[in-house]
């Protein structure tokens, strides 16, 4: 239970997060800690409340109970303030700004790290050009980092799927986060693209950014993560290293279902076969009638 306590190293600490929509409890009393330099996986069957939990962390939803702190301060329940504080995210279904260019998308990500307002833009005050150039430079660096530099002037809607995913990550990185939340970053990707995404996430971790990732691809998660947390029906089932999680029976049960109670094996098999023969005889009888 060491992971439950906050250390100076802790980037994100969620305690007792509960989210109810009317009578439905989507997330129930979930605790999660992310330390700096860690990649944490969040897995669970469909409808387990992973994305809802993400939305609670990023201020899109206000949790019914519980609190979320980022580097020791409680996160405000407003998405833009959460990003300002240093938590950036991507979306499960890509949400780029489709009719802006690739570069402009990343520049929008710089919003919280620049502060030139309307007056500065209208009067072209001295700092304006400098800030604008610095932003562009940083954005180009990020495009370089994600391998999109040569497509800077393309409309983001025209990028192929895999590159749109990358661009979403570049845009999130532009806000200089201390924690990056990735919601199914490899959904719809082929194995090569998935491996490339893996490399990219390791590179992001190496820059000192902690990563929390939701994913269904077990191989990807087990390769990538330092710790994995399993959500089932809104509750945290187990948390630990990939090995521990993979070996946990409850996790397997959650994904694959539990075997029959009582005596499985030969006896049951015989039962099934008997049933099948019985059914085929009835159907032939049905034909003759």
């Amino acid at each position: 239970m060491t992971s439950m306590t906050t250390t100076p190293n802790t980037v994100l600490h969620a305690s007792g997060v509960t989210m109810r929509f009317g009578g439905l409890t989507a997330v129930r009393n979930v605790d999660l800690t992310v330390n700096s330099g860690e990649i944490i996986g969040l897995i669970g069957p469909n409808g387990a409340g992973k994305t809802t939990f993400f939305n609670c962390l990023t201020g899109l939803y206000v949790p019914t109970e519980g609190k979320v702190t980022y580097k020791g301060t409680v996160l405000p329940p407003k998405p833009h303030l959460v990003t300002q504080a240093g938590v950036a995210r991507t979306f499960q279904n890509i949400r780029l700004f489709p009719n802006m260019t690739v570069l402009e998308n990343v520049l929008v990500g710089r919003h919280t790290r620049t502060k030139e307002g309307l007056w500065s833009a209208l009067l072209r005050l001295p700092g304006f050009k400098k800030a604008e150039n610095a932003s562009r430079e940083r954005a180009m660096e990020l495009l370089e980092f994600t391998g999109l530099a040569d497509k800077a002037d393309h409309l983001s809607r025209n990028l192929p799927y895999g590159e749109q995913r990358k661009l979403e990550i570049a845009r999130a990185l532009a806000s200089e986060p201390g924690l990056l939340l990735l919601d199914e970053p490899t959904a719809g990707m082929n194995p090569q693209e998935t491996r490339a995404a893996e490399e990219l996430i390791f590179a992001i971790r190496d820059q000192g950014i902690a990563v929390l990732v939701i994913e269904h691809d077990m191989r990807f998660i087990m390769n990538l993560c330092d710790r994995v947390s399993v959500l089932v029906q809104g509750e945290k089932l187990v948390e630990g290293t990939p090995d521990i999680v993979q070996a946990d029976e409850r996790v397997i049960a959650a994904y694959l279902g539990t075997p029959f109670e009582g005596a499985p094996g030969d006896e049951e098999l015989a039962e099934v076969e008997a049933a099948e023969t019985a059914q085929s005889t009835t159907s032939t009888e049905g034909d003759t009638q």
Binding site: P79, H80, I94, L96, V108, T112, L118, F128, N158, P160
Partner: protein, 597 residues
Amino acid sequence: MTTNTTHRDSGTPLIPLPTSLARHTVTAGAAIALIGTFMAWTWTSDFPGDLTVDGYPGGLQLLTLTAAALTLLFALSAYGVQGLRWLTPAGTNAPLRLLALATFGTTGYTLGAISDELGGIVNLEPGAYVSGIGALIALIAAFALPGDTPGTDTTGDNPWRRIRHTLAAPSARPAQPIPDWAGILVIVAAFAIGLYVFAYGIDTAYTELFIGFLITAGFTFAALTQAGLLTRLSALTAQHRTVTLSAAFVAAICFPFTQSSDEYALIGANILIFATVALGLNVVVGLAGLLDLGYVAFLGVGAYAAALVSGASTSSLGVHFPFWAAILVGAGASLVFGVLIGAPTLRLRGDYLAIVTLGFGEIFRITMNNLNGNSGPNVTNGSRGIPAIPDITIFGWDLGISHDIAGFTLGKPGNYYLLMLVITLVVVTVFRRSADSRIGRAWVAIREDETAATAMGINGFRVKLIAFALGATLAGLAGTVQGHLTSTVTPEQYQFAGSVPPNSAFLLAAVILGGMGTMSGPLIGAALLYLIPAKLQFMQDYQLLLFGVALIVLMRLRPEGIIADRRKKLEFHETGQLDTPETSLTDTPVGVTKAGA
């Protein structure tokens, strides 16, 4: 096999004729039409413009002459004549077809108008037949020329599609680099021509001439687009932005000096007010994506506020502020109302804003009507409005009286035109600078996907409120001048939809028609929307009907507006763009569906 079929498709023009013969015929036809304009077209000067003189074309004949001369010029360019090749960097035959249409349209319209007004074709003199037949020959032969773009399999079946296909041209050849001074000269020349054409359109003295002008100008504009000349020009203007803006500004300054009569200068000033307010609305609608259906109310707030402090005898305040203070009061009042309306509604998403602004527009008008001392305190004199607003005096320069400047007389509308031009310049600068900045990108991001924008750290409410308040302020700024120009403000000037622009519906239409999110789009859209009803008095009864029809046709044929935003252009015409990803075909549909989810 397939390539063969498509080639035969594109090679088969609508009318079968050998290409070289067709080209000769177009040239000959255009030349005949041109010669015809030097002969009398009718026997009586009852038809406006006096088309009875031999050897001296006038009125509508001049338009035919222009169109025929352009057709000749482009036909020569199609021959590959040295020194004229630059005319057709993109299409060759498509612009020729369009110019032949311009010639035939103008000539045909003139002949029809003469026959109609004077009672029968007996009133036509030989010159009219010469021009008419020449134009017809040129038109038929022009459609015998092959298409500029390779045909597709679908071109064969549908005649309408085939005609549209023959009028399409490929994208322009890469341009030869030209020295800076030459580029600047070209821009200056283009704006001089633009000013001349615009002034000609405003100055058309009778309806027939204006319709002829619209036909000629419309087809010629399309021809120049298909020839690739406008693409070239916009590339040049992008290269020399400051020069372009200065040239446009100088051309605009020159306009009132080309006007001898106050009537046309007044049209110019009104167009400028309409265009400026439309550009202000473009910040709200085009950039931030906030649908404002009551925008004209902010113009009204500015006008009323300025009128109240103008020293008009009927003003309930009875104070006389200098102009600079009046302008601040007008813009400030609009700003306050913008924030008051925006603050509660901009927190919501979706269509609430449209409904609230629509309501605000009506509330403003009704409130101004009711503050008449009868059903409320007397502030605005109700429906009688505030009349006799004194003219503005700037540095001892009374805008209400005529001034002689370098031999030109500048009347009251001319003075206000120039003042309004300064305001337009302010609004243009505000639009350009705010669009190309952190705040402008935030507006576009909010418009594109508000959830993603807030997740990127953008305070949606704050940014939208800034856009809304800025738009309101710009309208208020224009309102102060408008109130002084009309010298009366009444509630009925500021309706949702009325016969006289600017009203909210027309403002929105100017933005959409011209091109959302662009700078020149609303200016052009507003100019057209003001000019056409102002010149075609007979249409006044059907104005809203025709306006609706025009809007539907435009949305069908050119949904991005007259001036296409770079983004919109790519959005509506996915094919044939340079920007498509270099991926295999199997990748693309996946990306598209996922991104759209």
